[in-house]
Amino acid sequence: MTEVADVKAEMGDETAAGAAAAGPRSVGGLLRKAEIDLRLVGMVLALIAILIGFTIATNGRILQPVNLVNLSVQMVSIAVIATGMTMVIASRNIDLSVGSIAGLVALVSVVMMVRVLPGVIGLGHPLMWVSALLIGLAVGALLGSMQGYLIAYIGIPSFVVTLGGLLAFRGLTWVISRGSTVAPVDATFRLLGGGPRGSVGATASWILGILASAAIIALLLNNRRQRRRFGFPLRPVWAEVTIGTLAVGAVLGIVWVFNKYFWPEALARRYAEENGIPIPEGGLHIAAGIPWPVIVLVGVTIAMTFIATRTRFGRYVFAYGGNPEAAELSGIKTKWTIMKTFMLIGILCAISGSIAAARLDGATLDLGIGYELYVIAACVIGGTSFSGGVGTIPGAVLGALVLSSLSYGLNFMGVESPIQDIVAGIVLVVAVGFDTYSRRRQAR
């Protein structure tokens, strides 16, 4: 009897060992070996699934370049703030006031352009857009710092402070605007909002795409050289090549799509008349190229990823989220770190609000309403954990893209907005539920 049991136990052990050995050969194992973030892969797959679903549901009409371009511009305002919200949530705080800050900054910038600056530097002055933008950024930084100070140094919970901000800043927006939309924005400022004229054109788009590709390759090579310098284990070459090819392919593919979107005929004709360009037979096709807001988003994503992963401040944010007491004991100025996260998200709200104002060609009263929920949802879908210390900037941007794709697709299909909200809510809970489940399984 005992002998049989022993043999069985041995066999059991062997199967377990066999399964473990098979691990690295599975898909997940391969990805792990290539040091690719599994959760990012999952999000990209989810995104592709969503796109395929909508493609089938709309007979492919959603894949027209105009839709992809609109989608990319619509996600920018949420995604820009989500990069900062990742840092805020990673350090165990929350910011509910982002939409109100974006709305207030948008209003202040537009009021500057419409009512104040024309009297100071003159209407249509070339520095108009820069002045308005900088004032907006300063206001965002100031509002964020104020809230950050109350949270970090006075010790009022961030939920309370920013809930107050959500109400107070929105109220202030109404007071300043006296209850009406303020418009229009400066012509150069309007470029921030995208659209045919707010895009950089075909040639510049290809140049940007090629520069980005070169940067990706340089980054991969540099990373490898660093690891070799210290004799650390290197990623297999096949993995490096695959990652590089995929990344460069994705960049150039996206540029190609943007360049497939041409100016509307009427606009192109007017442009041709203004500039005395003869209209060729078959119509004038001007490729719009990459919209400015998308370039801003890419810039913000790179800058924020850099801050989060390559600077002391970023390291401290995540260390604090992982264990606030340990961060304090290791000598980090934790209060200053927390205050800076709110200053940063204030600036990002300002960028987001400026882009929205440029797109709407004015500051509307409802600009930014509800942003906080979409931003937080984007972070959470992108892998930011409320328990602190976990989250990535690219994840948050992808999360924003997933959410925006869903709402754009549903909108495109003519689904009513209450139904869209129901879908967004379900997706949020399912995404986090799935994540929680897979984390628990990993922990075991």
């Binding site: 660093q226 690891r227 310098r229 210290f230 650390f232 850099f306 992963t309 390559r310 600077t311 002391r312 390291r315 401290y316 995540f318 260390a319 604090y320 989220g321 992982g322 264990n323 007491e325 340990a326 961060a327 304090e328 004991l329 290791s330 000598g331 980090i332 100025k333 602190g388 210390g389 976990v390």
Partner: protein, 264 residues
């Protein structure tokens, strides 16, 4: 056995330290000192004030009153940022690791190595961590995983690496072996002897009286927030120290009646 500091002064002197939490004395007029190359064991029951006393030296909690001298010079320690430049490093009982970042990031937390562009030099930090780990725990291999996925011994090694990498003069070890198995405990004991021979002064807080007797040169006993006495290890027995811990009395004050009660 002990070495003098360069200028002949005592390495650390803490005089008349008081800490209270809302009217409750956690540390009551405690005076304690430490020489270079010496291990002073700090023992006492739960809540006797050992950790709190040491937290005033590491800057985790400022003292309400009292004076601290390092190499004969009076210093003010209000935060960990004050203690570290003085060469005072602490291995906390909780280890105080940031769970979601990897070992090199934890070792260098607050003191990151930077490239010439002022960005984090992760490769250099990993390299330095690999070197210090070779000495502490040659089997340590998980340099790029969050420390929460490491075993108790490995986490302990990370906490120790953080304390000894920065040229510590004074090391505070709060229950360094509490969470460890026998082999790892032996490793930590060897390390303590080695650090001591390098001239580092060590405050060793421990529940394990055998640990303390094995490693310490002198033993300070705390009882109800006060230091009962500091004795040379060579001049006392384990039973006498135990009596001090339990009764809060110096060996010469202990009566036959007390001993009889102790033996039950």
């Amino acid at each position: 056995m002990t070495q003098e500091s360069p200028n002949g002064a005592t390495l650390v002197e803490m005089r008349n330290i008081n800490v209270s939490f809302g009217g409750v004395h956690a540390v009551d007029d405690a005076t304690i000192d430490l020489h270079a190359g010496e291990v002073v064991g700090l023992v006492g029951g739960n809540g006797a004030g050992k950790s709190t006393l040491m937290r005033t030296l590491s800057g985790a909690h400022p003292a309400d009153s009292g004076e601290i001298f390092v190499n004969g010079e009076q210093v003010t320690i209000l935060t960990p940022r004050d203690a570290k430049p003085l060469g005072i490093e602490t291995i906390y009982q909780t280890l105080a690791l940031s769970e979601n970042i990897d070992a090199p990031a934890n070792v260098f937390l607050g003191r990151e190595l930077l490239t010439k562009w002022r960005t984090l030099d992760d490769s250099a930090m990993e390299d330095a961590t690999r070197k210090v780990m070779k000495r502490l725990n040659p089997n340590f291999k998980n340099f790029n995983q969050p420390v929460q996925s490491l075993s108790g011994g490995q986490r302990q090694a990370v906490a120790i690496a953080r304390a000894i990498h920065f040229d510590a003069k004074v090391l505070i070890m709060d229950e360094p072996t509490a969470a460890l198995g026998p082999a790892e405990t032996a490793q930590v004991r060897d390390l303590i002897r080695q650090l001591k021979s390098e001239g580092i002064g060590i405050f060793l807080i421990s529940h394990d009286i055998h640990d303390v007797f094995d490693l310490a040169d002198r033993i300070s006993v705390m009882y109800h927030a006060k230091i009962v006495d500091t004795v040379d290890k060579a001049s006392v027995t384990i039973d006498e120290v135990l009596a001090m811990i339990i009764l809060g009395k110096k060996p010469e004050e202990v009566t036959q009646k007390d001993l009889a009660e102790l033996r039950g």
